[in-house]
Symmetry: D2
Subunit: 435 residues, 4 copies
Amino acid sequence: MTKVKIKPATGKLGILTPGLGAVSTTFMAGVFRIRKGLSKPFGSVTQMQTIRLGGRDKSRSPLIRDFVPLADLRDIEFAAWDIFDDNAYEAAVKAGVLDVRDLADVRGEMEKVKPLKAVFDQKFIHNIDGPNKKKGSKWEMAQEVREDIRNFRKAKKLDRMVVVWCGSTEVYIEQHPVHETIESFENGLKNNDEWISPSMIYAYASIMEGVPYANGAPHLTTDIPALDELARQKGVPISGKDFKTGQTLMKTVIAPALKARMLGVRGWFSTNILGNRDGLVLDDPGSFKSKEISKKSALEFIFQPDMYPDLYKDTYHKVRINYYPPKGDDKEGWDNIDIFGWMGYPMQLKVNFLCKDSILAAPIVLDLALFSDLAQRAGMKGIQEWLSFYFKAPMHAPQVHPEHDLFIQHTKLKNTLRHMMGEELITHLGLEYYE
Amino acid sequence: MTKVKIKPATGKLGILTPGLGAVSTTFMAGVFRIRKGLSKPFGSVTQMQTIRLGGRDKSRSPLIRDFVPLADLRDIEFAAWDIFDDNAYEAAVKAGVLDVRDLADVRGEMEKVKPLKAVFDQKFIHNIDGPNKKKGSKWEMAQEVREDIRNFRKAKKLDRMVVVWCGSTEVYIEQHPVHETIESFENGLKNNDEWISPSMIYAYASIMEGVPYANGAPHLTTDIPALDELARQKGVPISGKDFKTGQTLMKTVIAPALKARMLGVRGWFSTNILGNRDGLVLDDPGSFKSKEISKKSALEFIFQPDMYPDLYKDTYHKVRINYYPPKGDDKEGWDNIDIFGWMGYPMQLKVNFLCKDSILAAPIVLDLALFSDLAQRAGMKGIQEWLSFYFKAPMHAPQVHPEHDLFIQHTKLKNTLRHMMGEELITHLGLEYYE
Amino acid sequence: MTKVKIKPATGKLGILTPGLGAVSTTFMAGVFRIRKGLSKPFGSVTQMQTIRLGGRDKSRSPLIRDFVPLADLRDIEFAAWDIFDDNAYEAAVKAGVLDVRDLADVRGEMEKVKPLKAVFDQKFIHNIDGPNKKKGSKWEMAQEVREDIRNFRKAKKLDRMVVVWCGSTEVYIEQHPVHETIESFENGLKNNDEWISPSMIYAYASIMEGVPYANGAPHLTTDIPALDELARQKGVPISGKDFKTGQTLMKTVIAPALKARMLGVRGWFSTNILGNRDGLVLDDPGSFKSKEISKKSALEFIFQPDMYPDLYKDTYHKVRINYYPPKGDDKEGWDNIDIFGWMGYPMQLKVNFLCKDSILAAPIVLDLALFSDLAQRAGMKGIQEWLSFYFKAPMHAPQVHPEHDLFIQHTKLKNTLRHMMGEELITHLGLEYYE
Amino acid sequence: MTKVKIKPATGKLGILTPGLGAVSTTFMAGVFRIRKGLSKPFGSVTQMQTIRLGGRDKSRSPLIRDFVPLADLRDIEFAAWDIFDDNAYEAAVKAGVLDVRDLADVRGEMEKVKPLKAVFDQKFIHNIDGPNKKKGSKWEMAQEVREDIRNFRKAKKLDRMVVVWCGSTEVYIEQHPVHETIESFENGLKNNDEWISPSMIYAYASIMEGVPYANGAPHLTTDIPALDELARQKGVPISGKDFKTGQTLMKTVIAPALKARMLGVRGWFSTNILGNRDGLVLDDPGSFKSKEISKKSALEFIFQPDMYPDLYKDTYHKVRINYYPPKGDDKEGWDNIDIFGWMGYPMQLKVNFLCKDSILAAPIVLDLALFSDLAQRAGMKGIQEWLSFYFKAPMHAPQVHPEHDLFIQHTKLKNTLRHMMGEELITHLGLEYYE
């Protein structure tokens, strides 16, 4: 097989996050600690995972980071936008995810990350507000974000950049005519069109600057035709949406297993309790709707009820998210799954996941930044379906359905890496050991 | 790709089970009901699952049973050996898995299945005993089992047969010299060697008769060199061991997910409560050891602690099985998994599976019978690693490690079917939709 | 101590239930089966519980039914009102609580119980409707209910009667001026006052007929001054409200234990999934509010946050009820309780209750009927606080707080019985064994 | 009612603990922090609980510590025996229960508590050993312990003392003739009788010195006739045994609730995972047997199967304790309870308690010390059954059964305090509010 041409990862990589809250500060603190040898990059596929090359009877399993040319953690610089003006250290302390003692070792580095003024519109996020905001028309704010990006590149002498959305969930909106073409979108920016959200402004600016964009929240952003087309024109990889952490992660693990075994599902009840700013924002019905749709579609696509009506046509699926302050950043998911097997006999599966939202999300931010940068250097542009592994509602080409099954997503990611490097794809056939 | 030559599935298929208890009677009752249109074959991959052929943008997803030539359910005949002399109906009522009303519809068919005299040795199974047993030396009993098989073929005018072990778990034993060659084994039979277990006698007899053998329990049977060699000489597919149901099924689903995401595991505690005859037998330390080793190895192989020492080297793994009569055939698994992610922060995952042992096992018996028969008609012999999907401790070639990950097993199974039929293997690369 | 004068339980007792659904048909079927010796009265304190009399070193522990003069199960007759016209057998089959085989044995008796036309007003219950309804003004309907009661007495030659509400939950309403006096209430009936609910009409009618009334749902009924006063004037015992089953039962067990041990509670999250008609009605916000208030107040009163501000002042308490059809009459509660102990260290308690709503409620209906009848014969009238044991939101005198602690309620019930019969009250002091 | 004569709590109280491990150091650290105003005494009944006096309509609910004359926390001095020679600070750090930052504030005080040489015998505790041990015959060691006690009194100028066993669980032993009389016991000490355990030596010494003794572990100590008789002769209160924390605490809460409602129990499966020194010791079958018997008897006594054979005669009860190092001092209990109600229909209750052993035990040590001292000043001697509230296997007079129900125990404790102070006992009758 022939290897794809990939530019080397020389020089520095800038990572910019809209949002300097629980997720992005946890991400930064971890990277700083890892660079100092104080932590290991648990949870990160780019840093810790190996990839099998060739037969199972050979021992070729290099680390992914030794196999494909990724940016080195020592070459990363950070920037962020936020409506609050706390620096990354202060924001991390307020977020309460990490023990202050773990932050103490990297306090100096954290304090240097000061938030840029944010694009914000309370029409799109209801339950919070803050002082550190840009002013002017949507077009002017877009230009300011582009300038922020260019300033960051200059100030830190960056070779390349990536933007990863780590902010709150915007309210649910449908696609409107303004989203359809690049032209209509740019006119919309100038006319302050009410259907252009802050996240779209960030995405537009970063694509215009040739910077890959990954969307960690469930709202509509790069999945509008205008931005998709712009990304392909500018040669920019885009990916999304909604980091797949906690409960949905487990759902896309368990549902494929039930389907693999042809076990029917009468009902699936998922409830979540969480107490951080994310929970507060999701307490608003509009933001919840964005999240609910993102969370619910996974089962639809995995179960294929049209193909398996006897098993999944009447599956009753209910998702509840509850703001419950005692949890703080801890998040607790509880799933009750009513299944049936041979002769229709009923069984139950209950999953209780006591997780930490930002701890699960942080390494995803790192992996998406590094893989998006790799993709760009490999000449890949537009939707990066091979990064579906990281998302609750993965973006995909219009002619195909999204892949939600975590294991298909994982195979897709690894075979894409093998493909890039000209290695044989793994099919797990393995009949050769028996002949 | 070229298609493998496969003989058609004409005529009748006989399925013989050592053991006429909860699992095999549930299996039979279900098949009888399905044939009458009273039940659907939930849980059975051969009967209900589709297989995608070609790109995701095409719509080629036939049922597996329409894709590969499998025996038709209407062409199946049943026979069984057991130490109790209840017929299949009586045994099913005693097992208490199925509601007697569900049995009523197929009582006539069930009553006709009367147990053949069993090979039994209380050295290998301690906590139960019964009256319906063969006598004589191990060699003589092996000959009798062969005769039983031939009589069944003749009586029912069968075209082909399969044997699937559905009996209790024998005590744990290591491999001994008598197990090493066909010659030593046959001498051992004649000398009544103490290390030849009843299950080995059944397996020997069925292989000698050219009949595939699948081992649903965790004890040592066809995984001794003598029987492996014999199977290859006689052109007989063998597979095993230990039906992957309940708790281990979930473990081989969740562990791969944790590993895919590089989440570390500090400890995994699994406890099981069950109240059927299986639970009673496993209350004996010897039988429990067979089961424990079968259940514990899955995590070892999935986590690859040598490759990921920071994540899994010190994983504390404990498995407990508790005989708890109030459950009857219901089985309840409870797993507590102590995991850690970014910066080493701890999280917990708890899984409570309220399942029914025989309901999960019955469709596996069916699938193994039909796929083993298919393999034989396709000229495959010896270990059938592509059937790992169904086993807690899958048999494998000596030069490779076993695959425990349910999703790798599933891919292996489906790509093997595609390979048989000359279809392209699925790699999930899918870059073509974006070019 | 002197014994209270109690009339003997001679002759027949009629039990009338507004509502002929899951709860009341399960109750009736059980009583019919118990009378035939086919079932035991599990769950019923009046039928199975003993009561200790005197010191622990004596052996005086008669059955309650042998200690106080209760109506015999053989002397009970049933009647019911419902908006659907199914007889009790048909209604029970539709409710799906009981296996039809368990109903078969008492089908004849059940079929004879045919519903009287119900008082119904969709303003008070939104999600259901049916054909079997009374017409006319509220006053006229009240008169009709009184006539139903008198006809039942005559037809069955009854000595005494009791009414127990087993219908759906009405929407939440506050107390209005019309509820204040007997006069204003009777005027309201005549004027068709919008704030007089169907349940108040049943209660008014039964009190006017001298028949005790127990309220099994959380809505406002006899807890209005007009009906309280009327009950005292007519010498009628009243009790309520909301049968304490499932989740709240467990809460009033666990909360007292935490308080007994001075363990603080940071948060208590309760979620419930249920799929019966009750769940459907509670899916309406108005009915849910009645239920939520009933369910939430228990913790308030048990924890006494004003007395224990350090432990319970900031307890975050959230209750969610989810209509989830796959459960049917099964109800599943899940509680997550975040507690703290010595030095403020946090701990968690999680309770998962897989219960059956009507199975838990049915014996409560029986006990309330028999004890209400006993109370009346003992000359007790108005609020029966000693029956708090059976209610989620127990009625109580205005000058005292309600007792929600199940164990205080149980002590109250038993010491009331001892008091009635002139036996020494139990204090558990027990120093005499050590002197 | 007449008040009992109680000596005032003047001067200092010394608390001595055999065992300077997780429980006792957590206890001490908490007391030191509370004295400095850094923590509140959560979990302690003596410090935080109020007691209702008189009617519910009055507002007389003083704190218990304002109601009965208890020693003040500022007047407490600590001493301990242990086989390891770490001081209390070092031992607390090793135990890993408390965050080192919480210990930092009281490090000075903790470091001053240095362990006295322990009485130790590996025949009674198998899985651990240490260097700081007394030598000589059992008689000589008993004299040394007495001297330790007298030295402590002198050194700290104490007014009174209490001994509370906070060490590991000794192996299970039955009562032997040597335990029968004071004389046989003292001869046994002199003859080094093998059936006299270290804990008995501590108890003997403390009783001889007139010091109350409370037994926090499940092994046989003061429940032998010799020590019971000695305590009564010397006017010394004794209590035990086995602190009621975690899982058994919950069992004695839930079982009484099920019984109050006459719900039957088909089976109760309890499993526990814990990773501290206690878990390691209990991994030994002998120590486990002590614990198992202590844990199992609670259900027997609460359910009264002889009185309620239909409900509890065939209850299958299984208790498992699993040493699982990842938990450390965290302890996780999981209970599955199979219950049945009306018409025998089955339901399930599952309780998952994520608790901290020493956090639950520490305030019990405090309460037992203060209440034992109170009892002695009130002239109470021998078994203190009113302290059953704190124990898994409460000691009791031979002519009565032990009370395991937490709520009966709580009532007994509070009514005993009311009795001491000449207040009316509470019966919860409360009919006066309705007359």
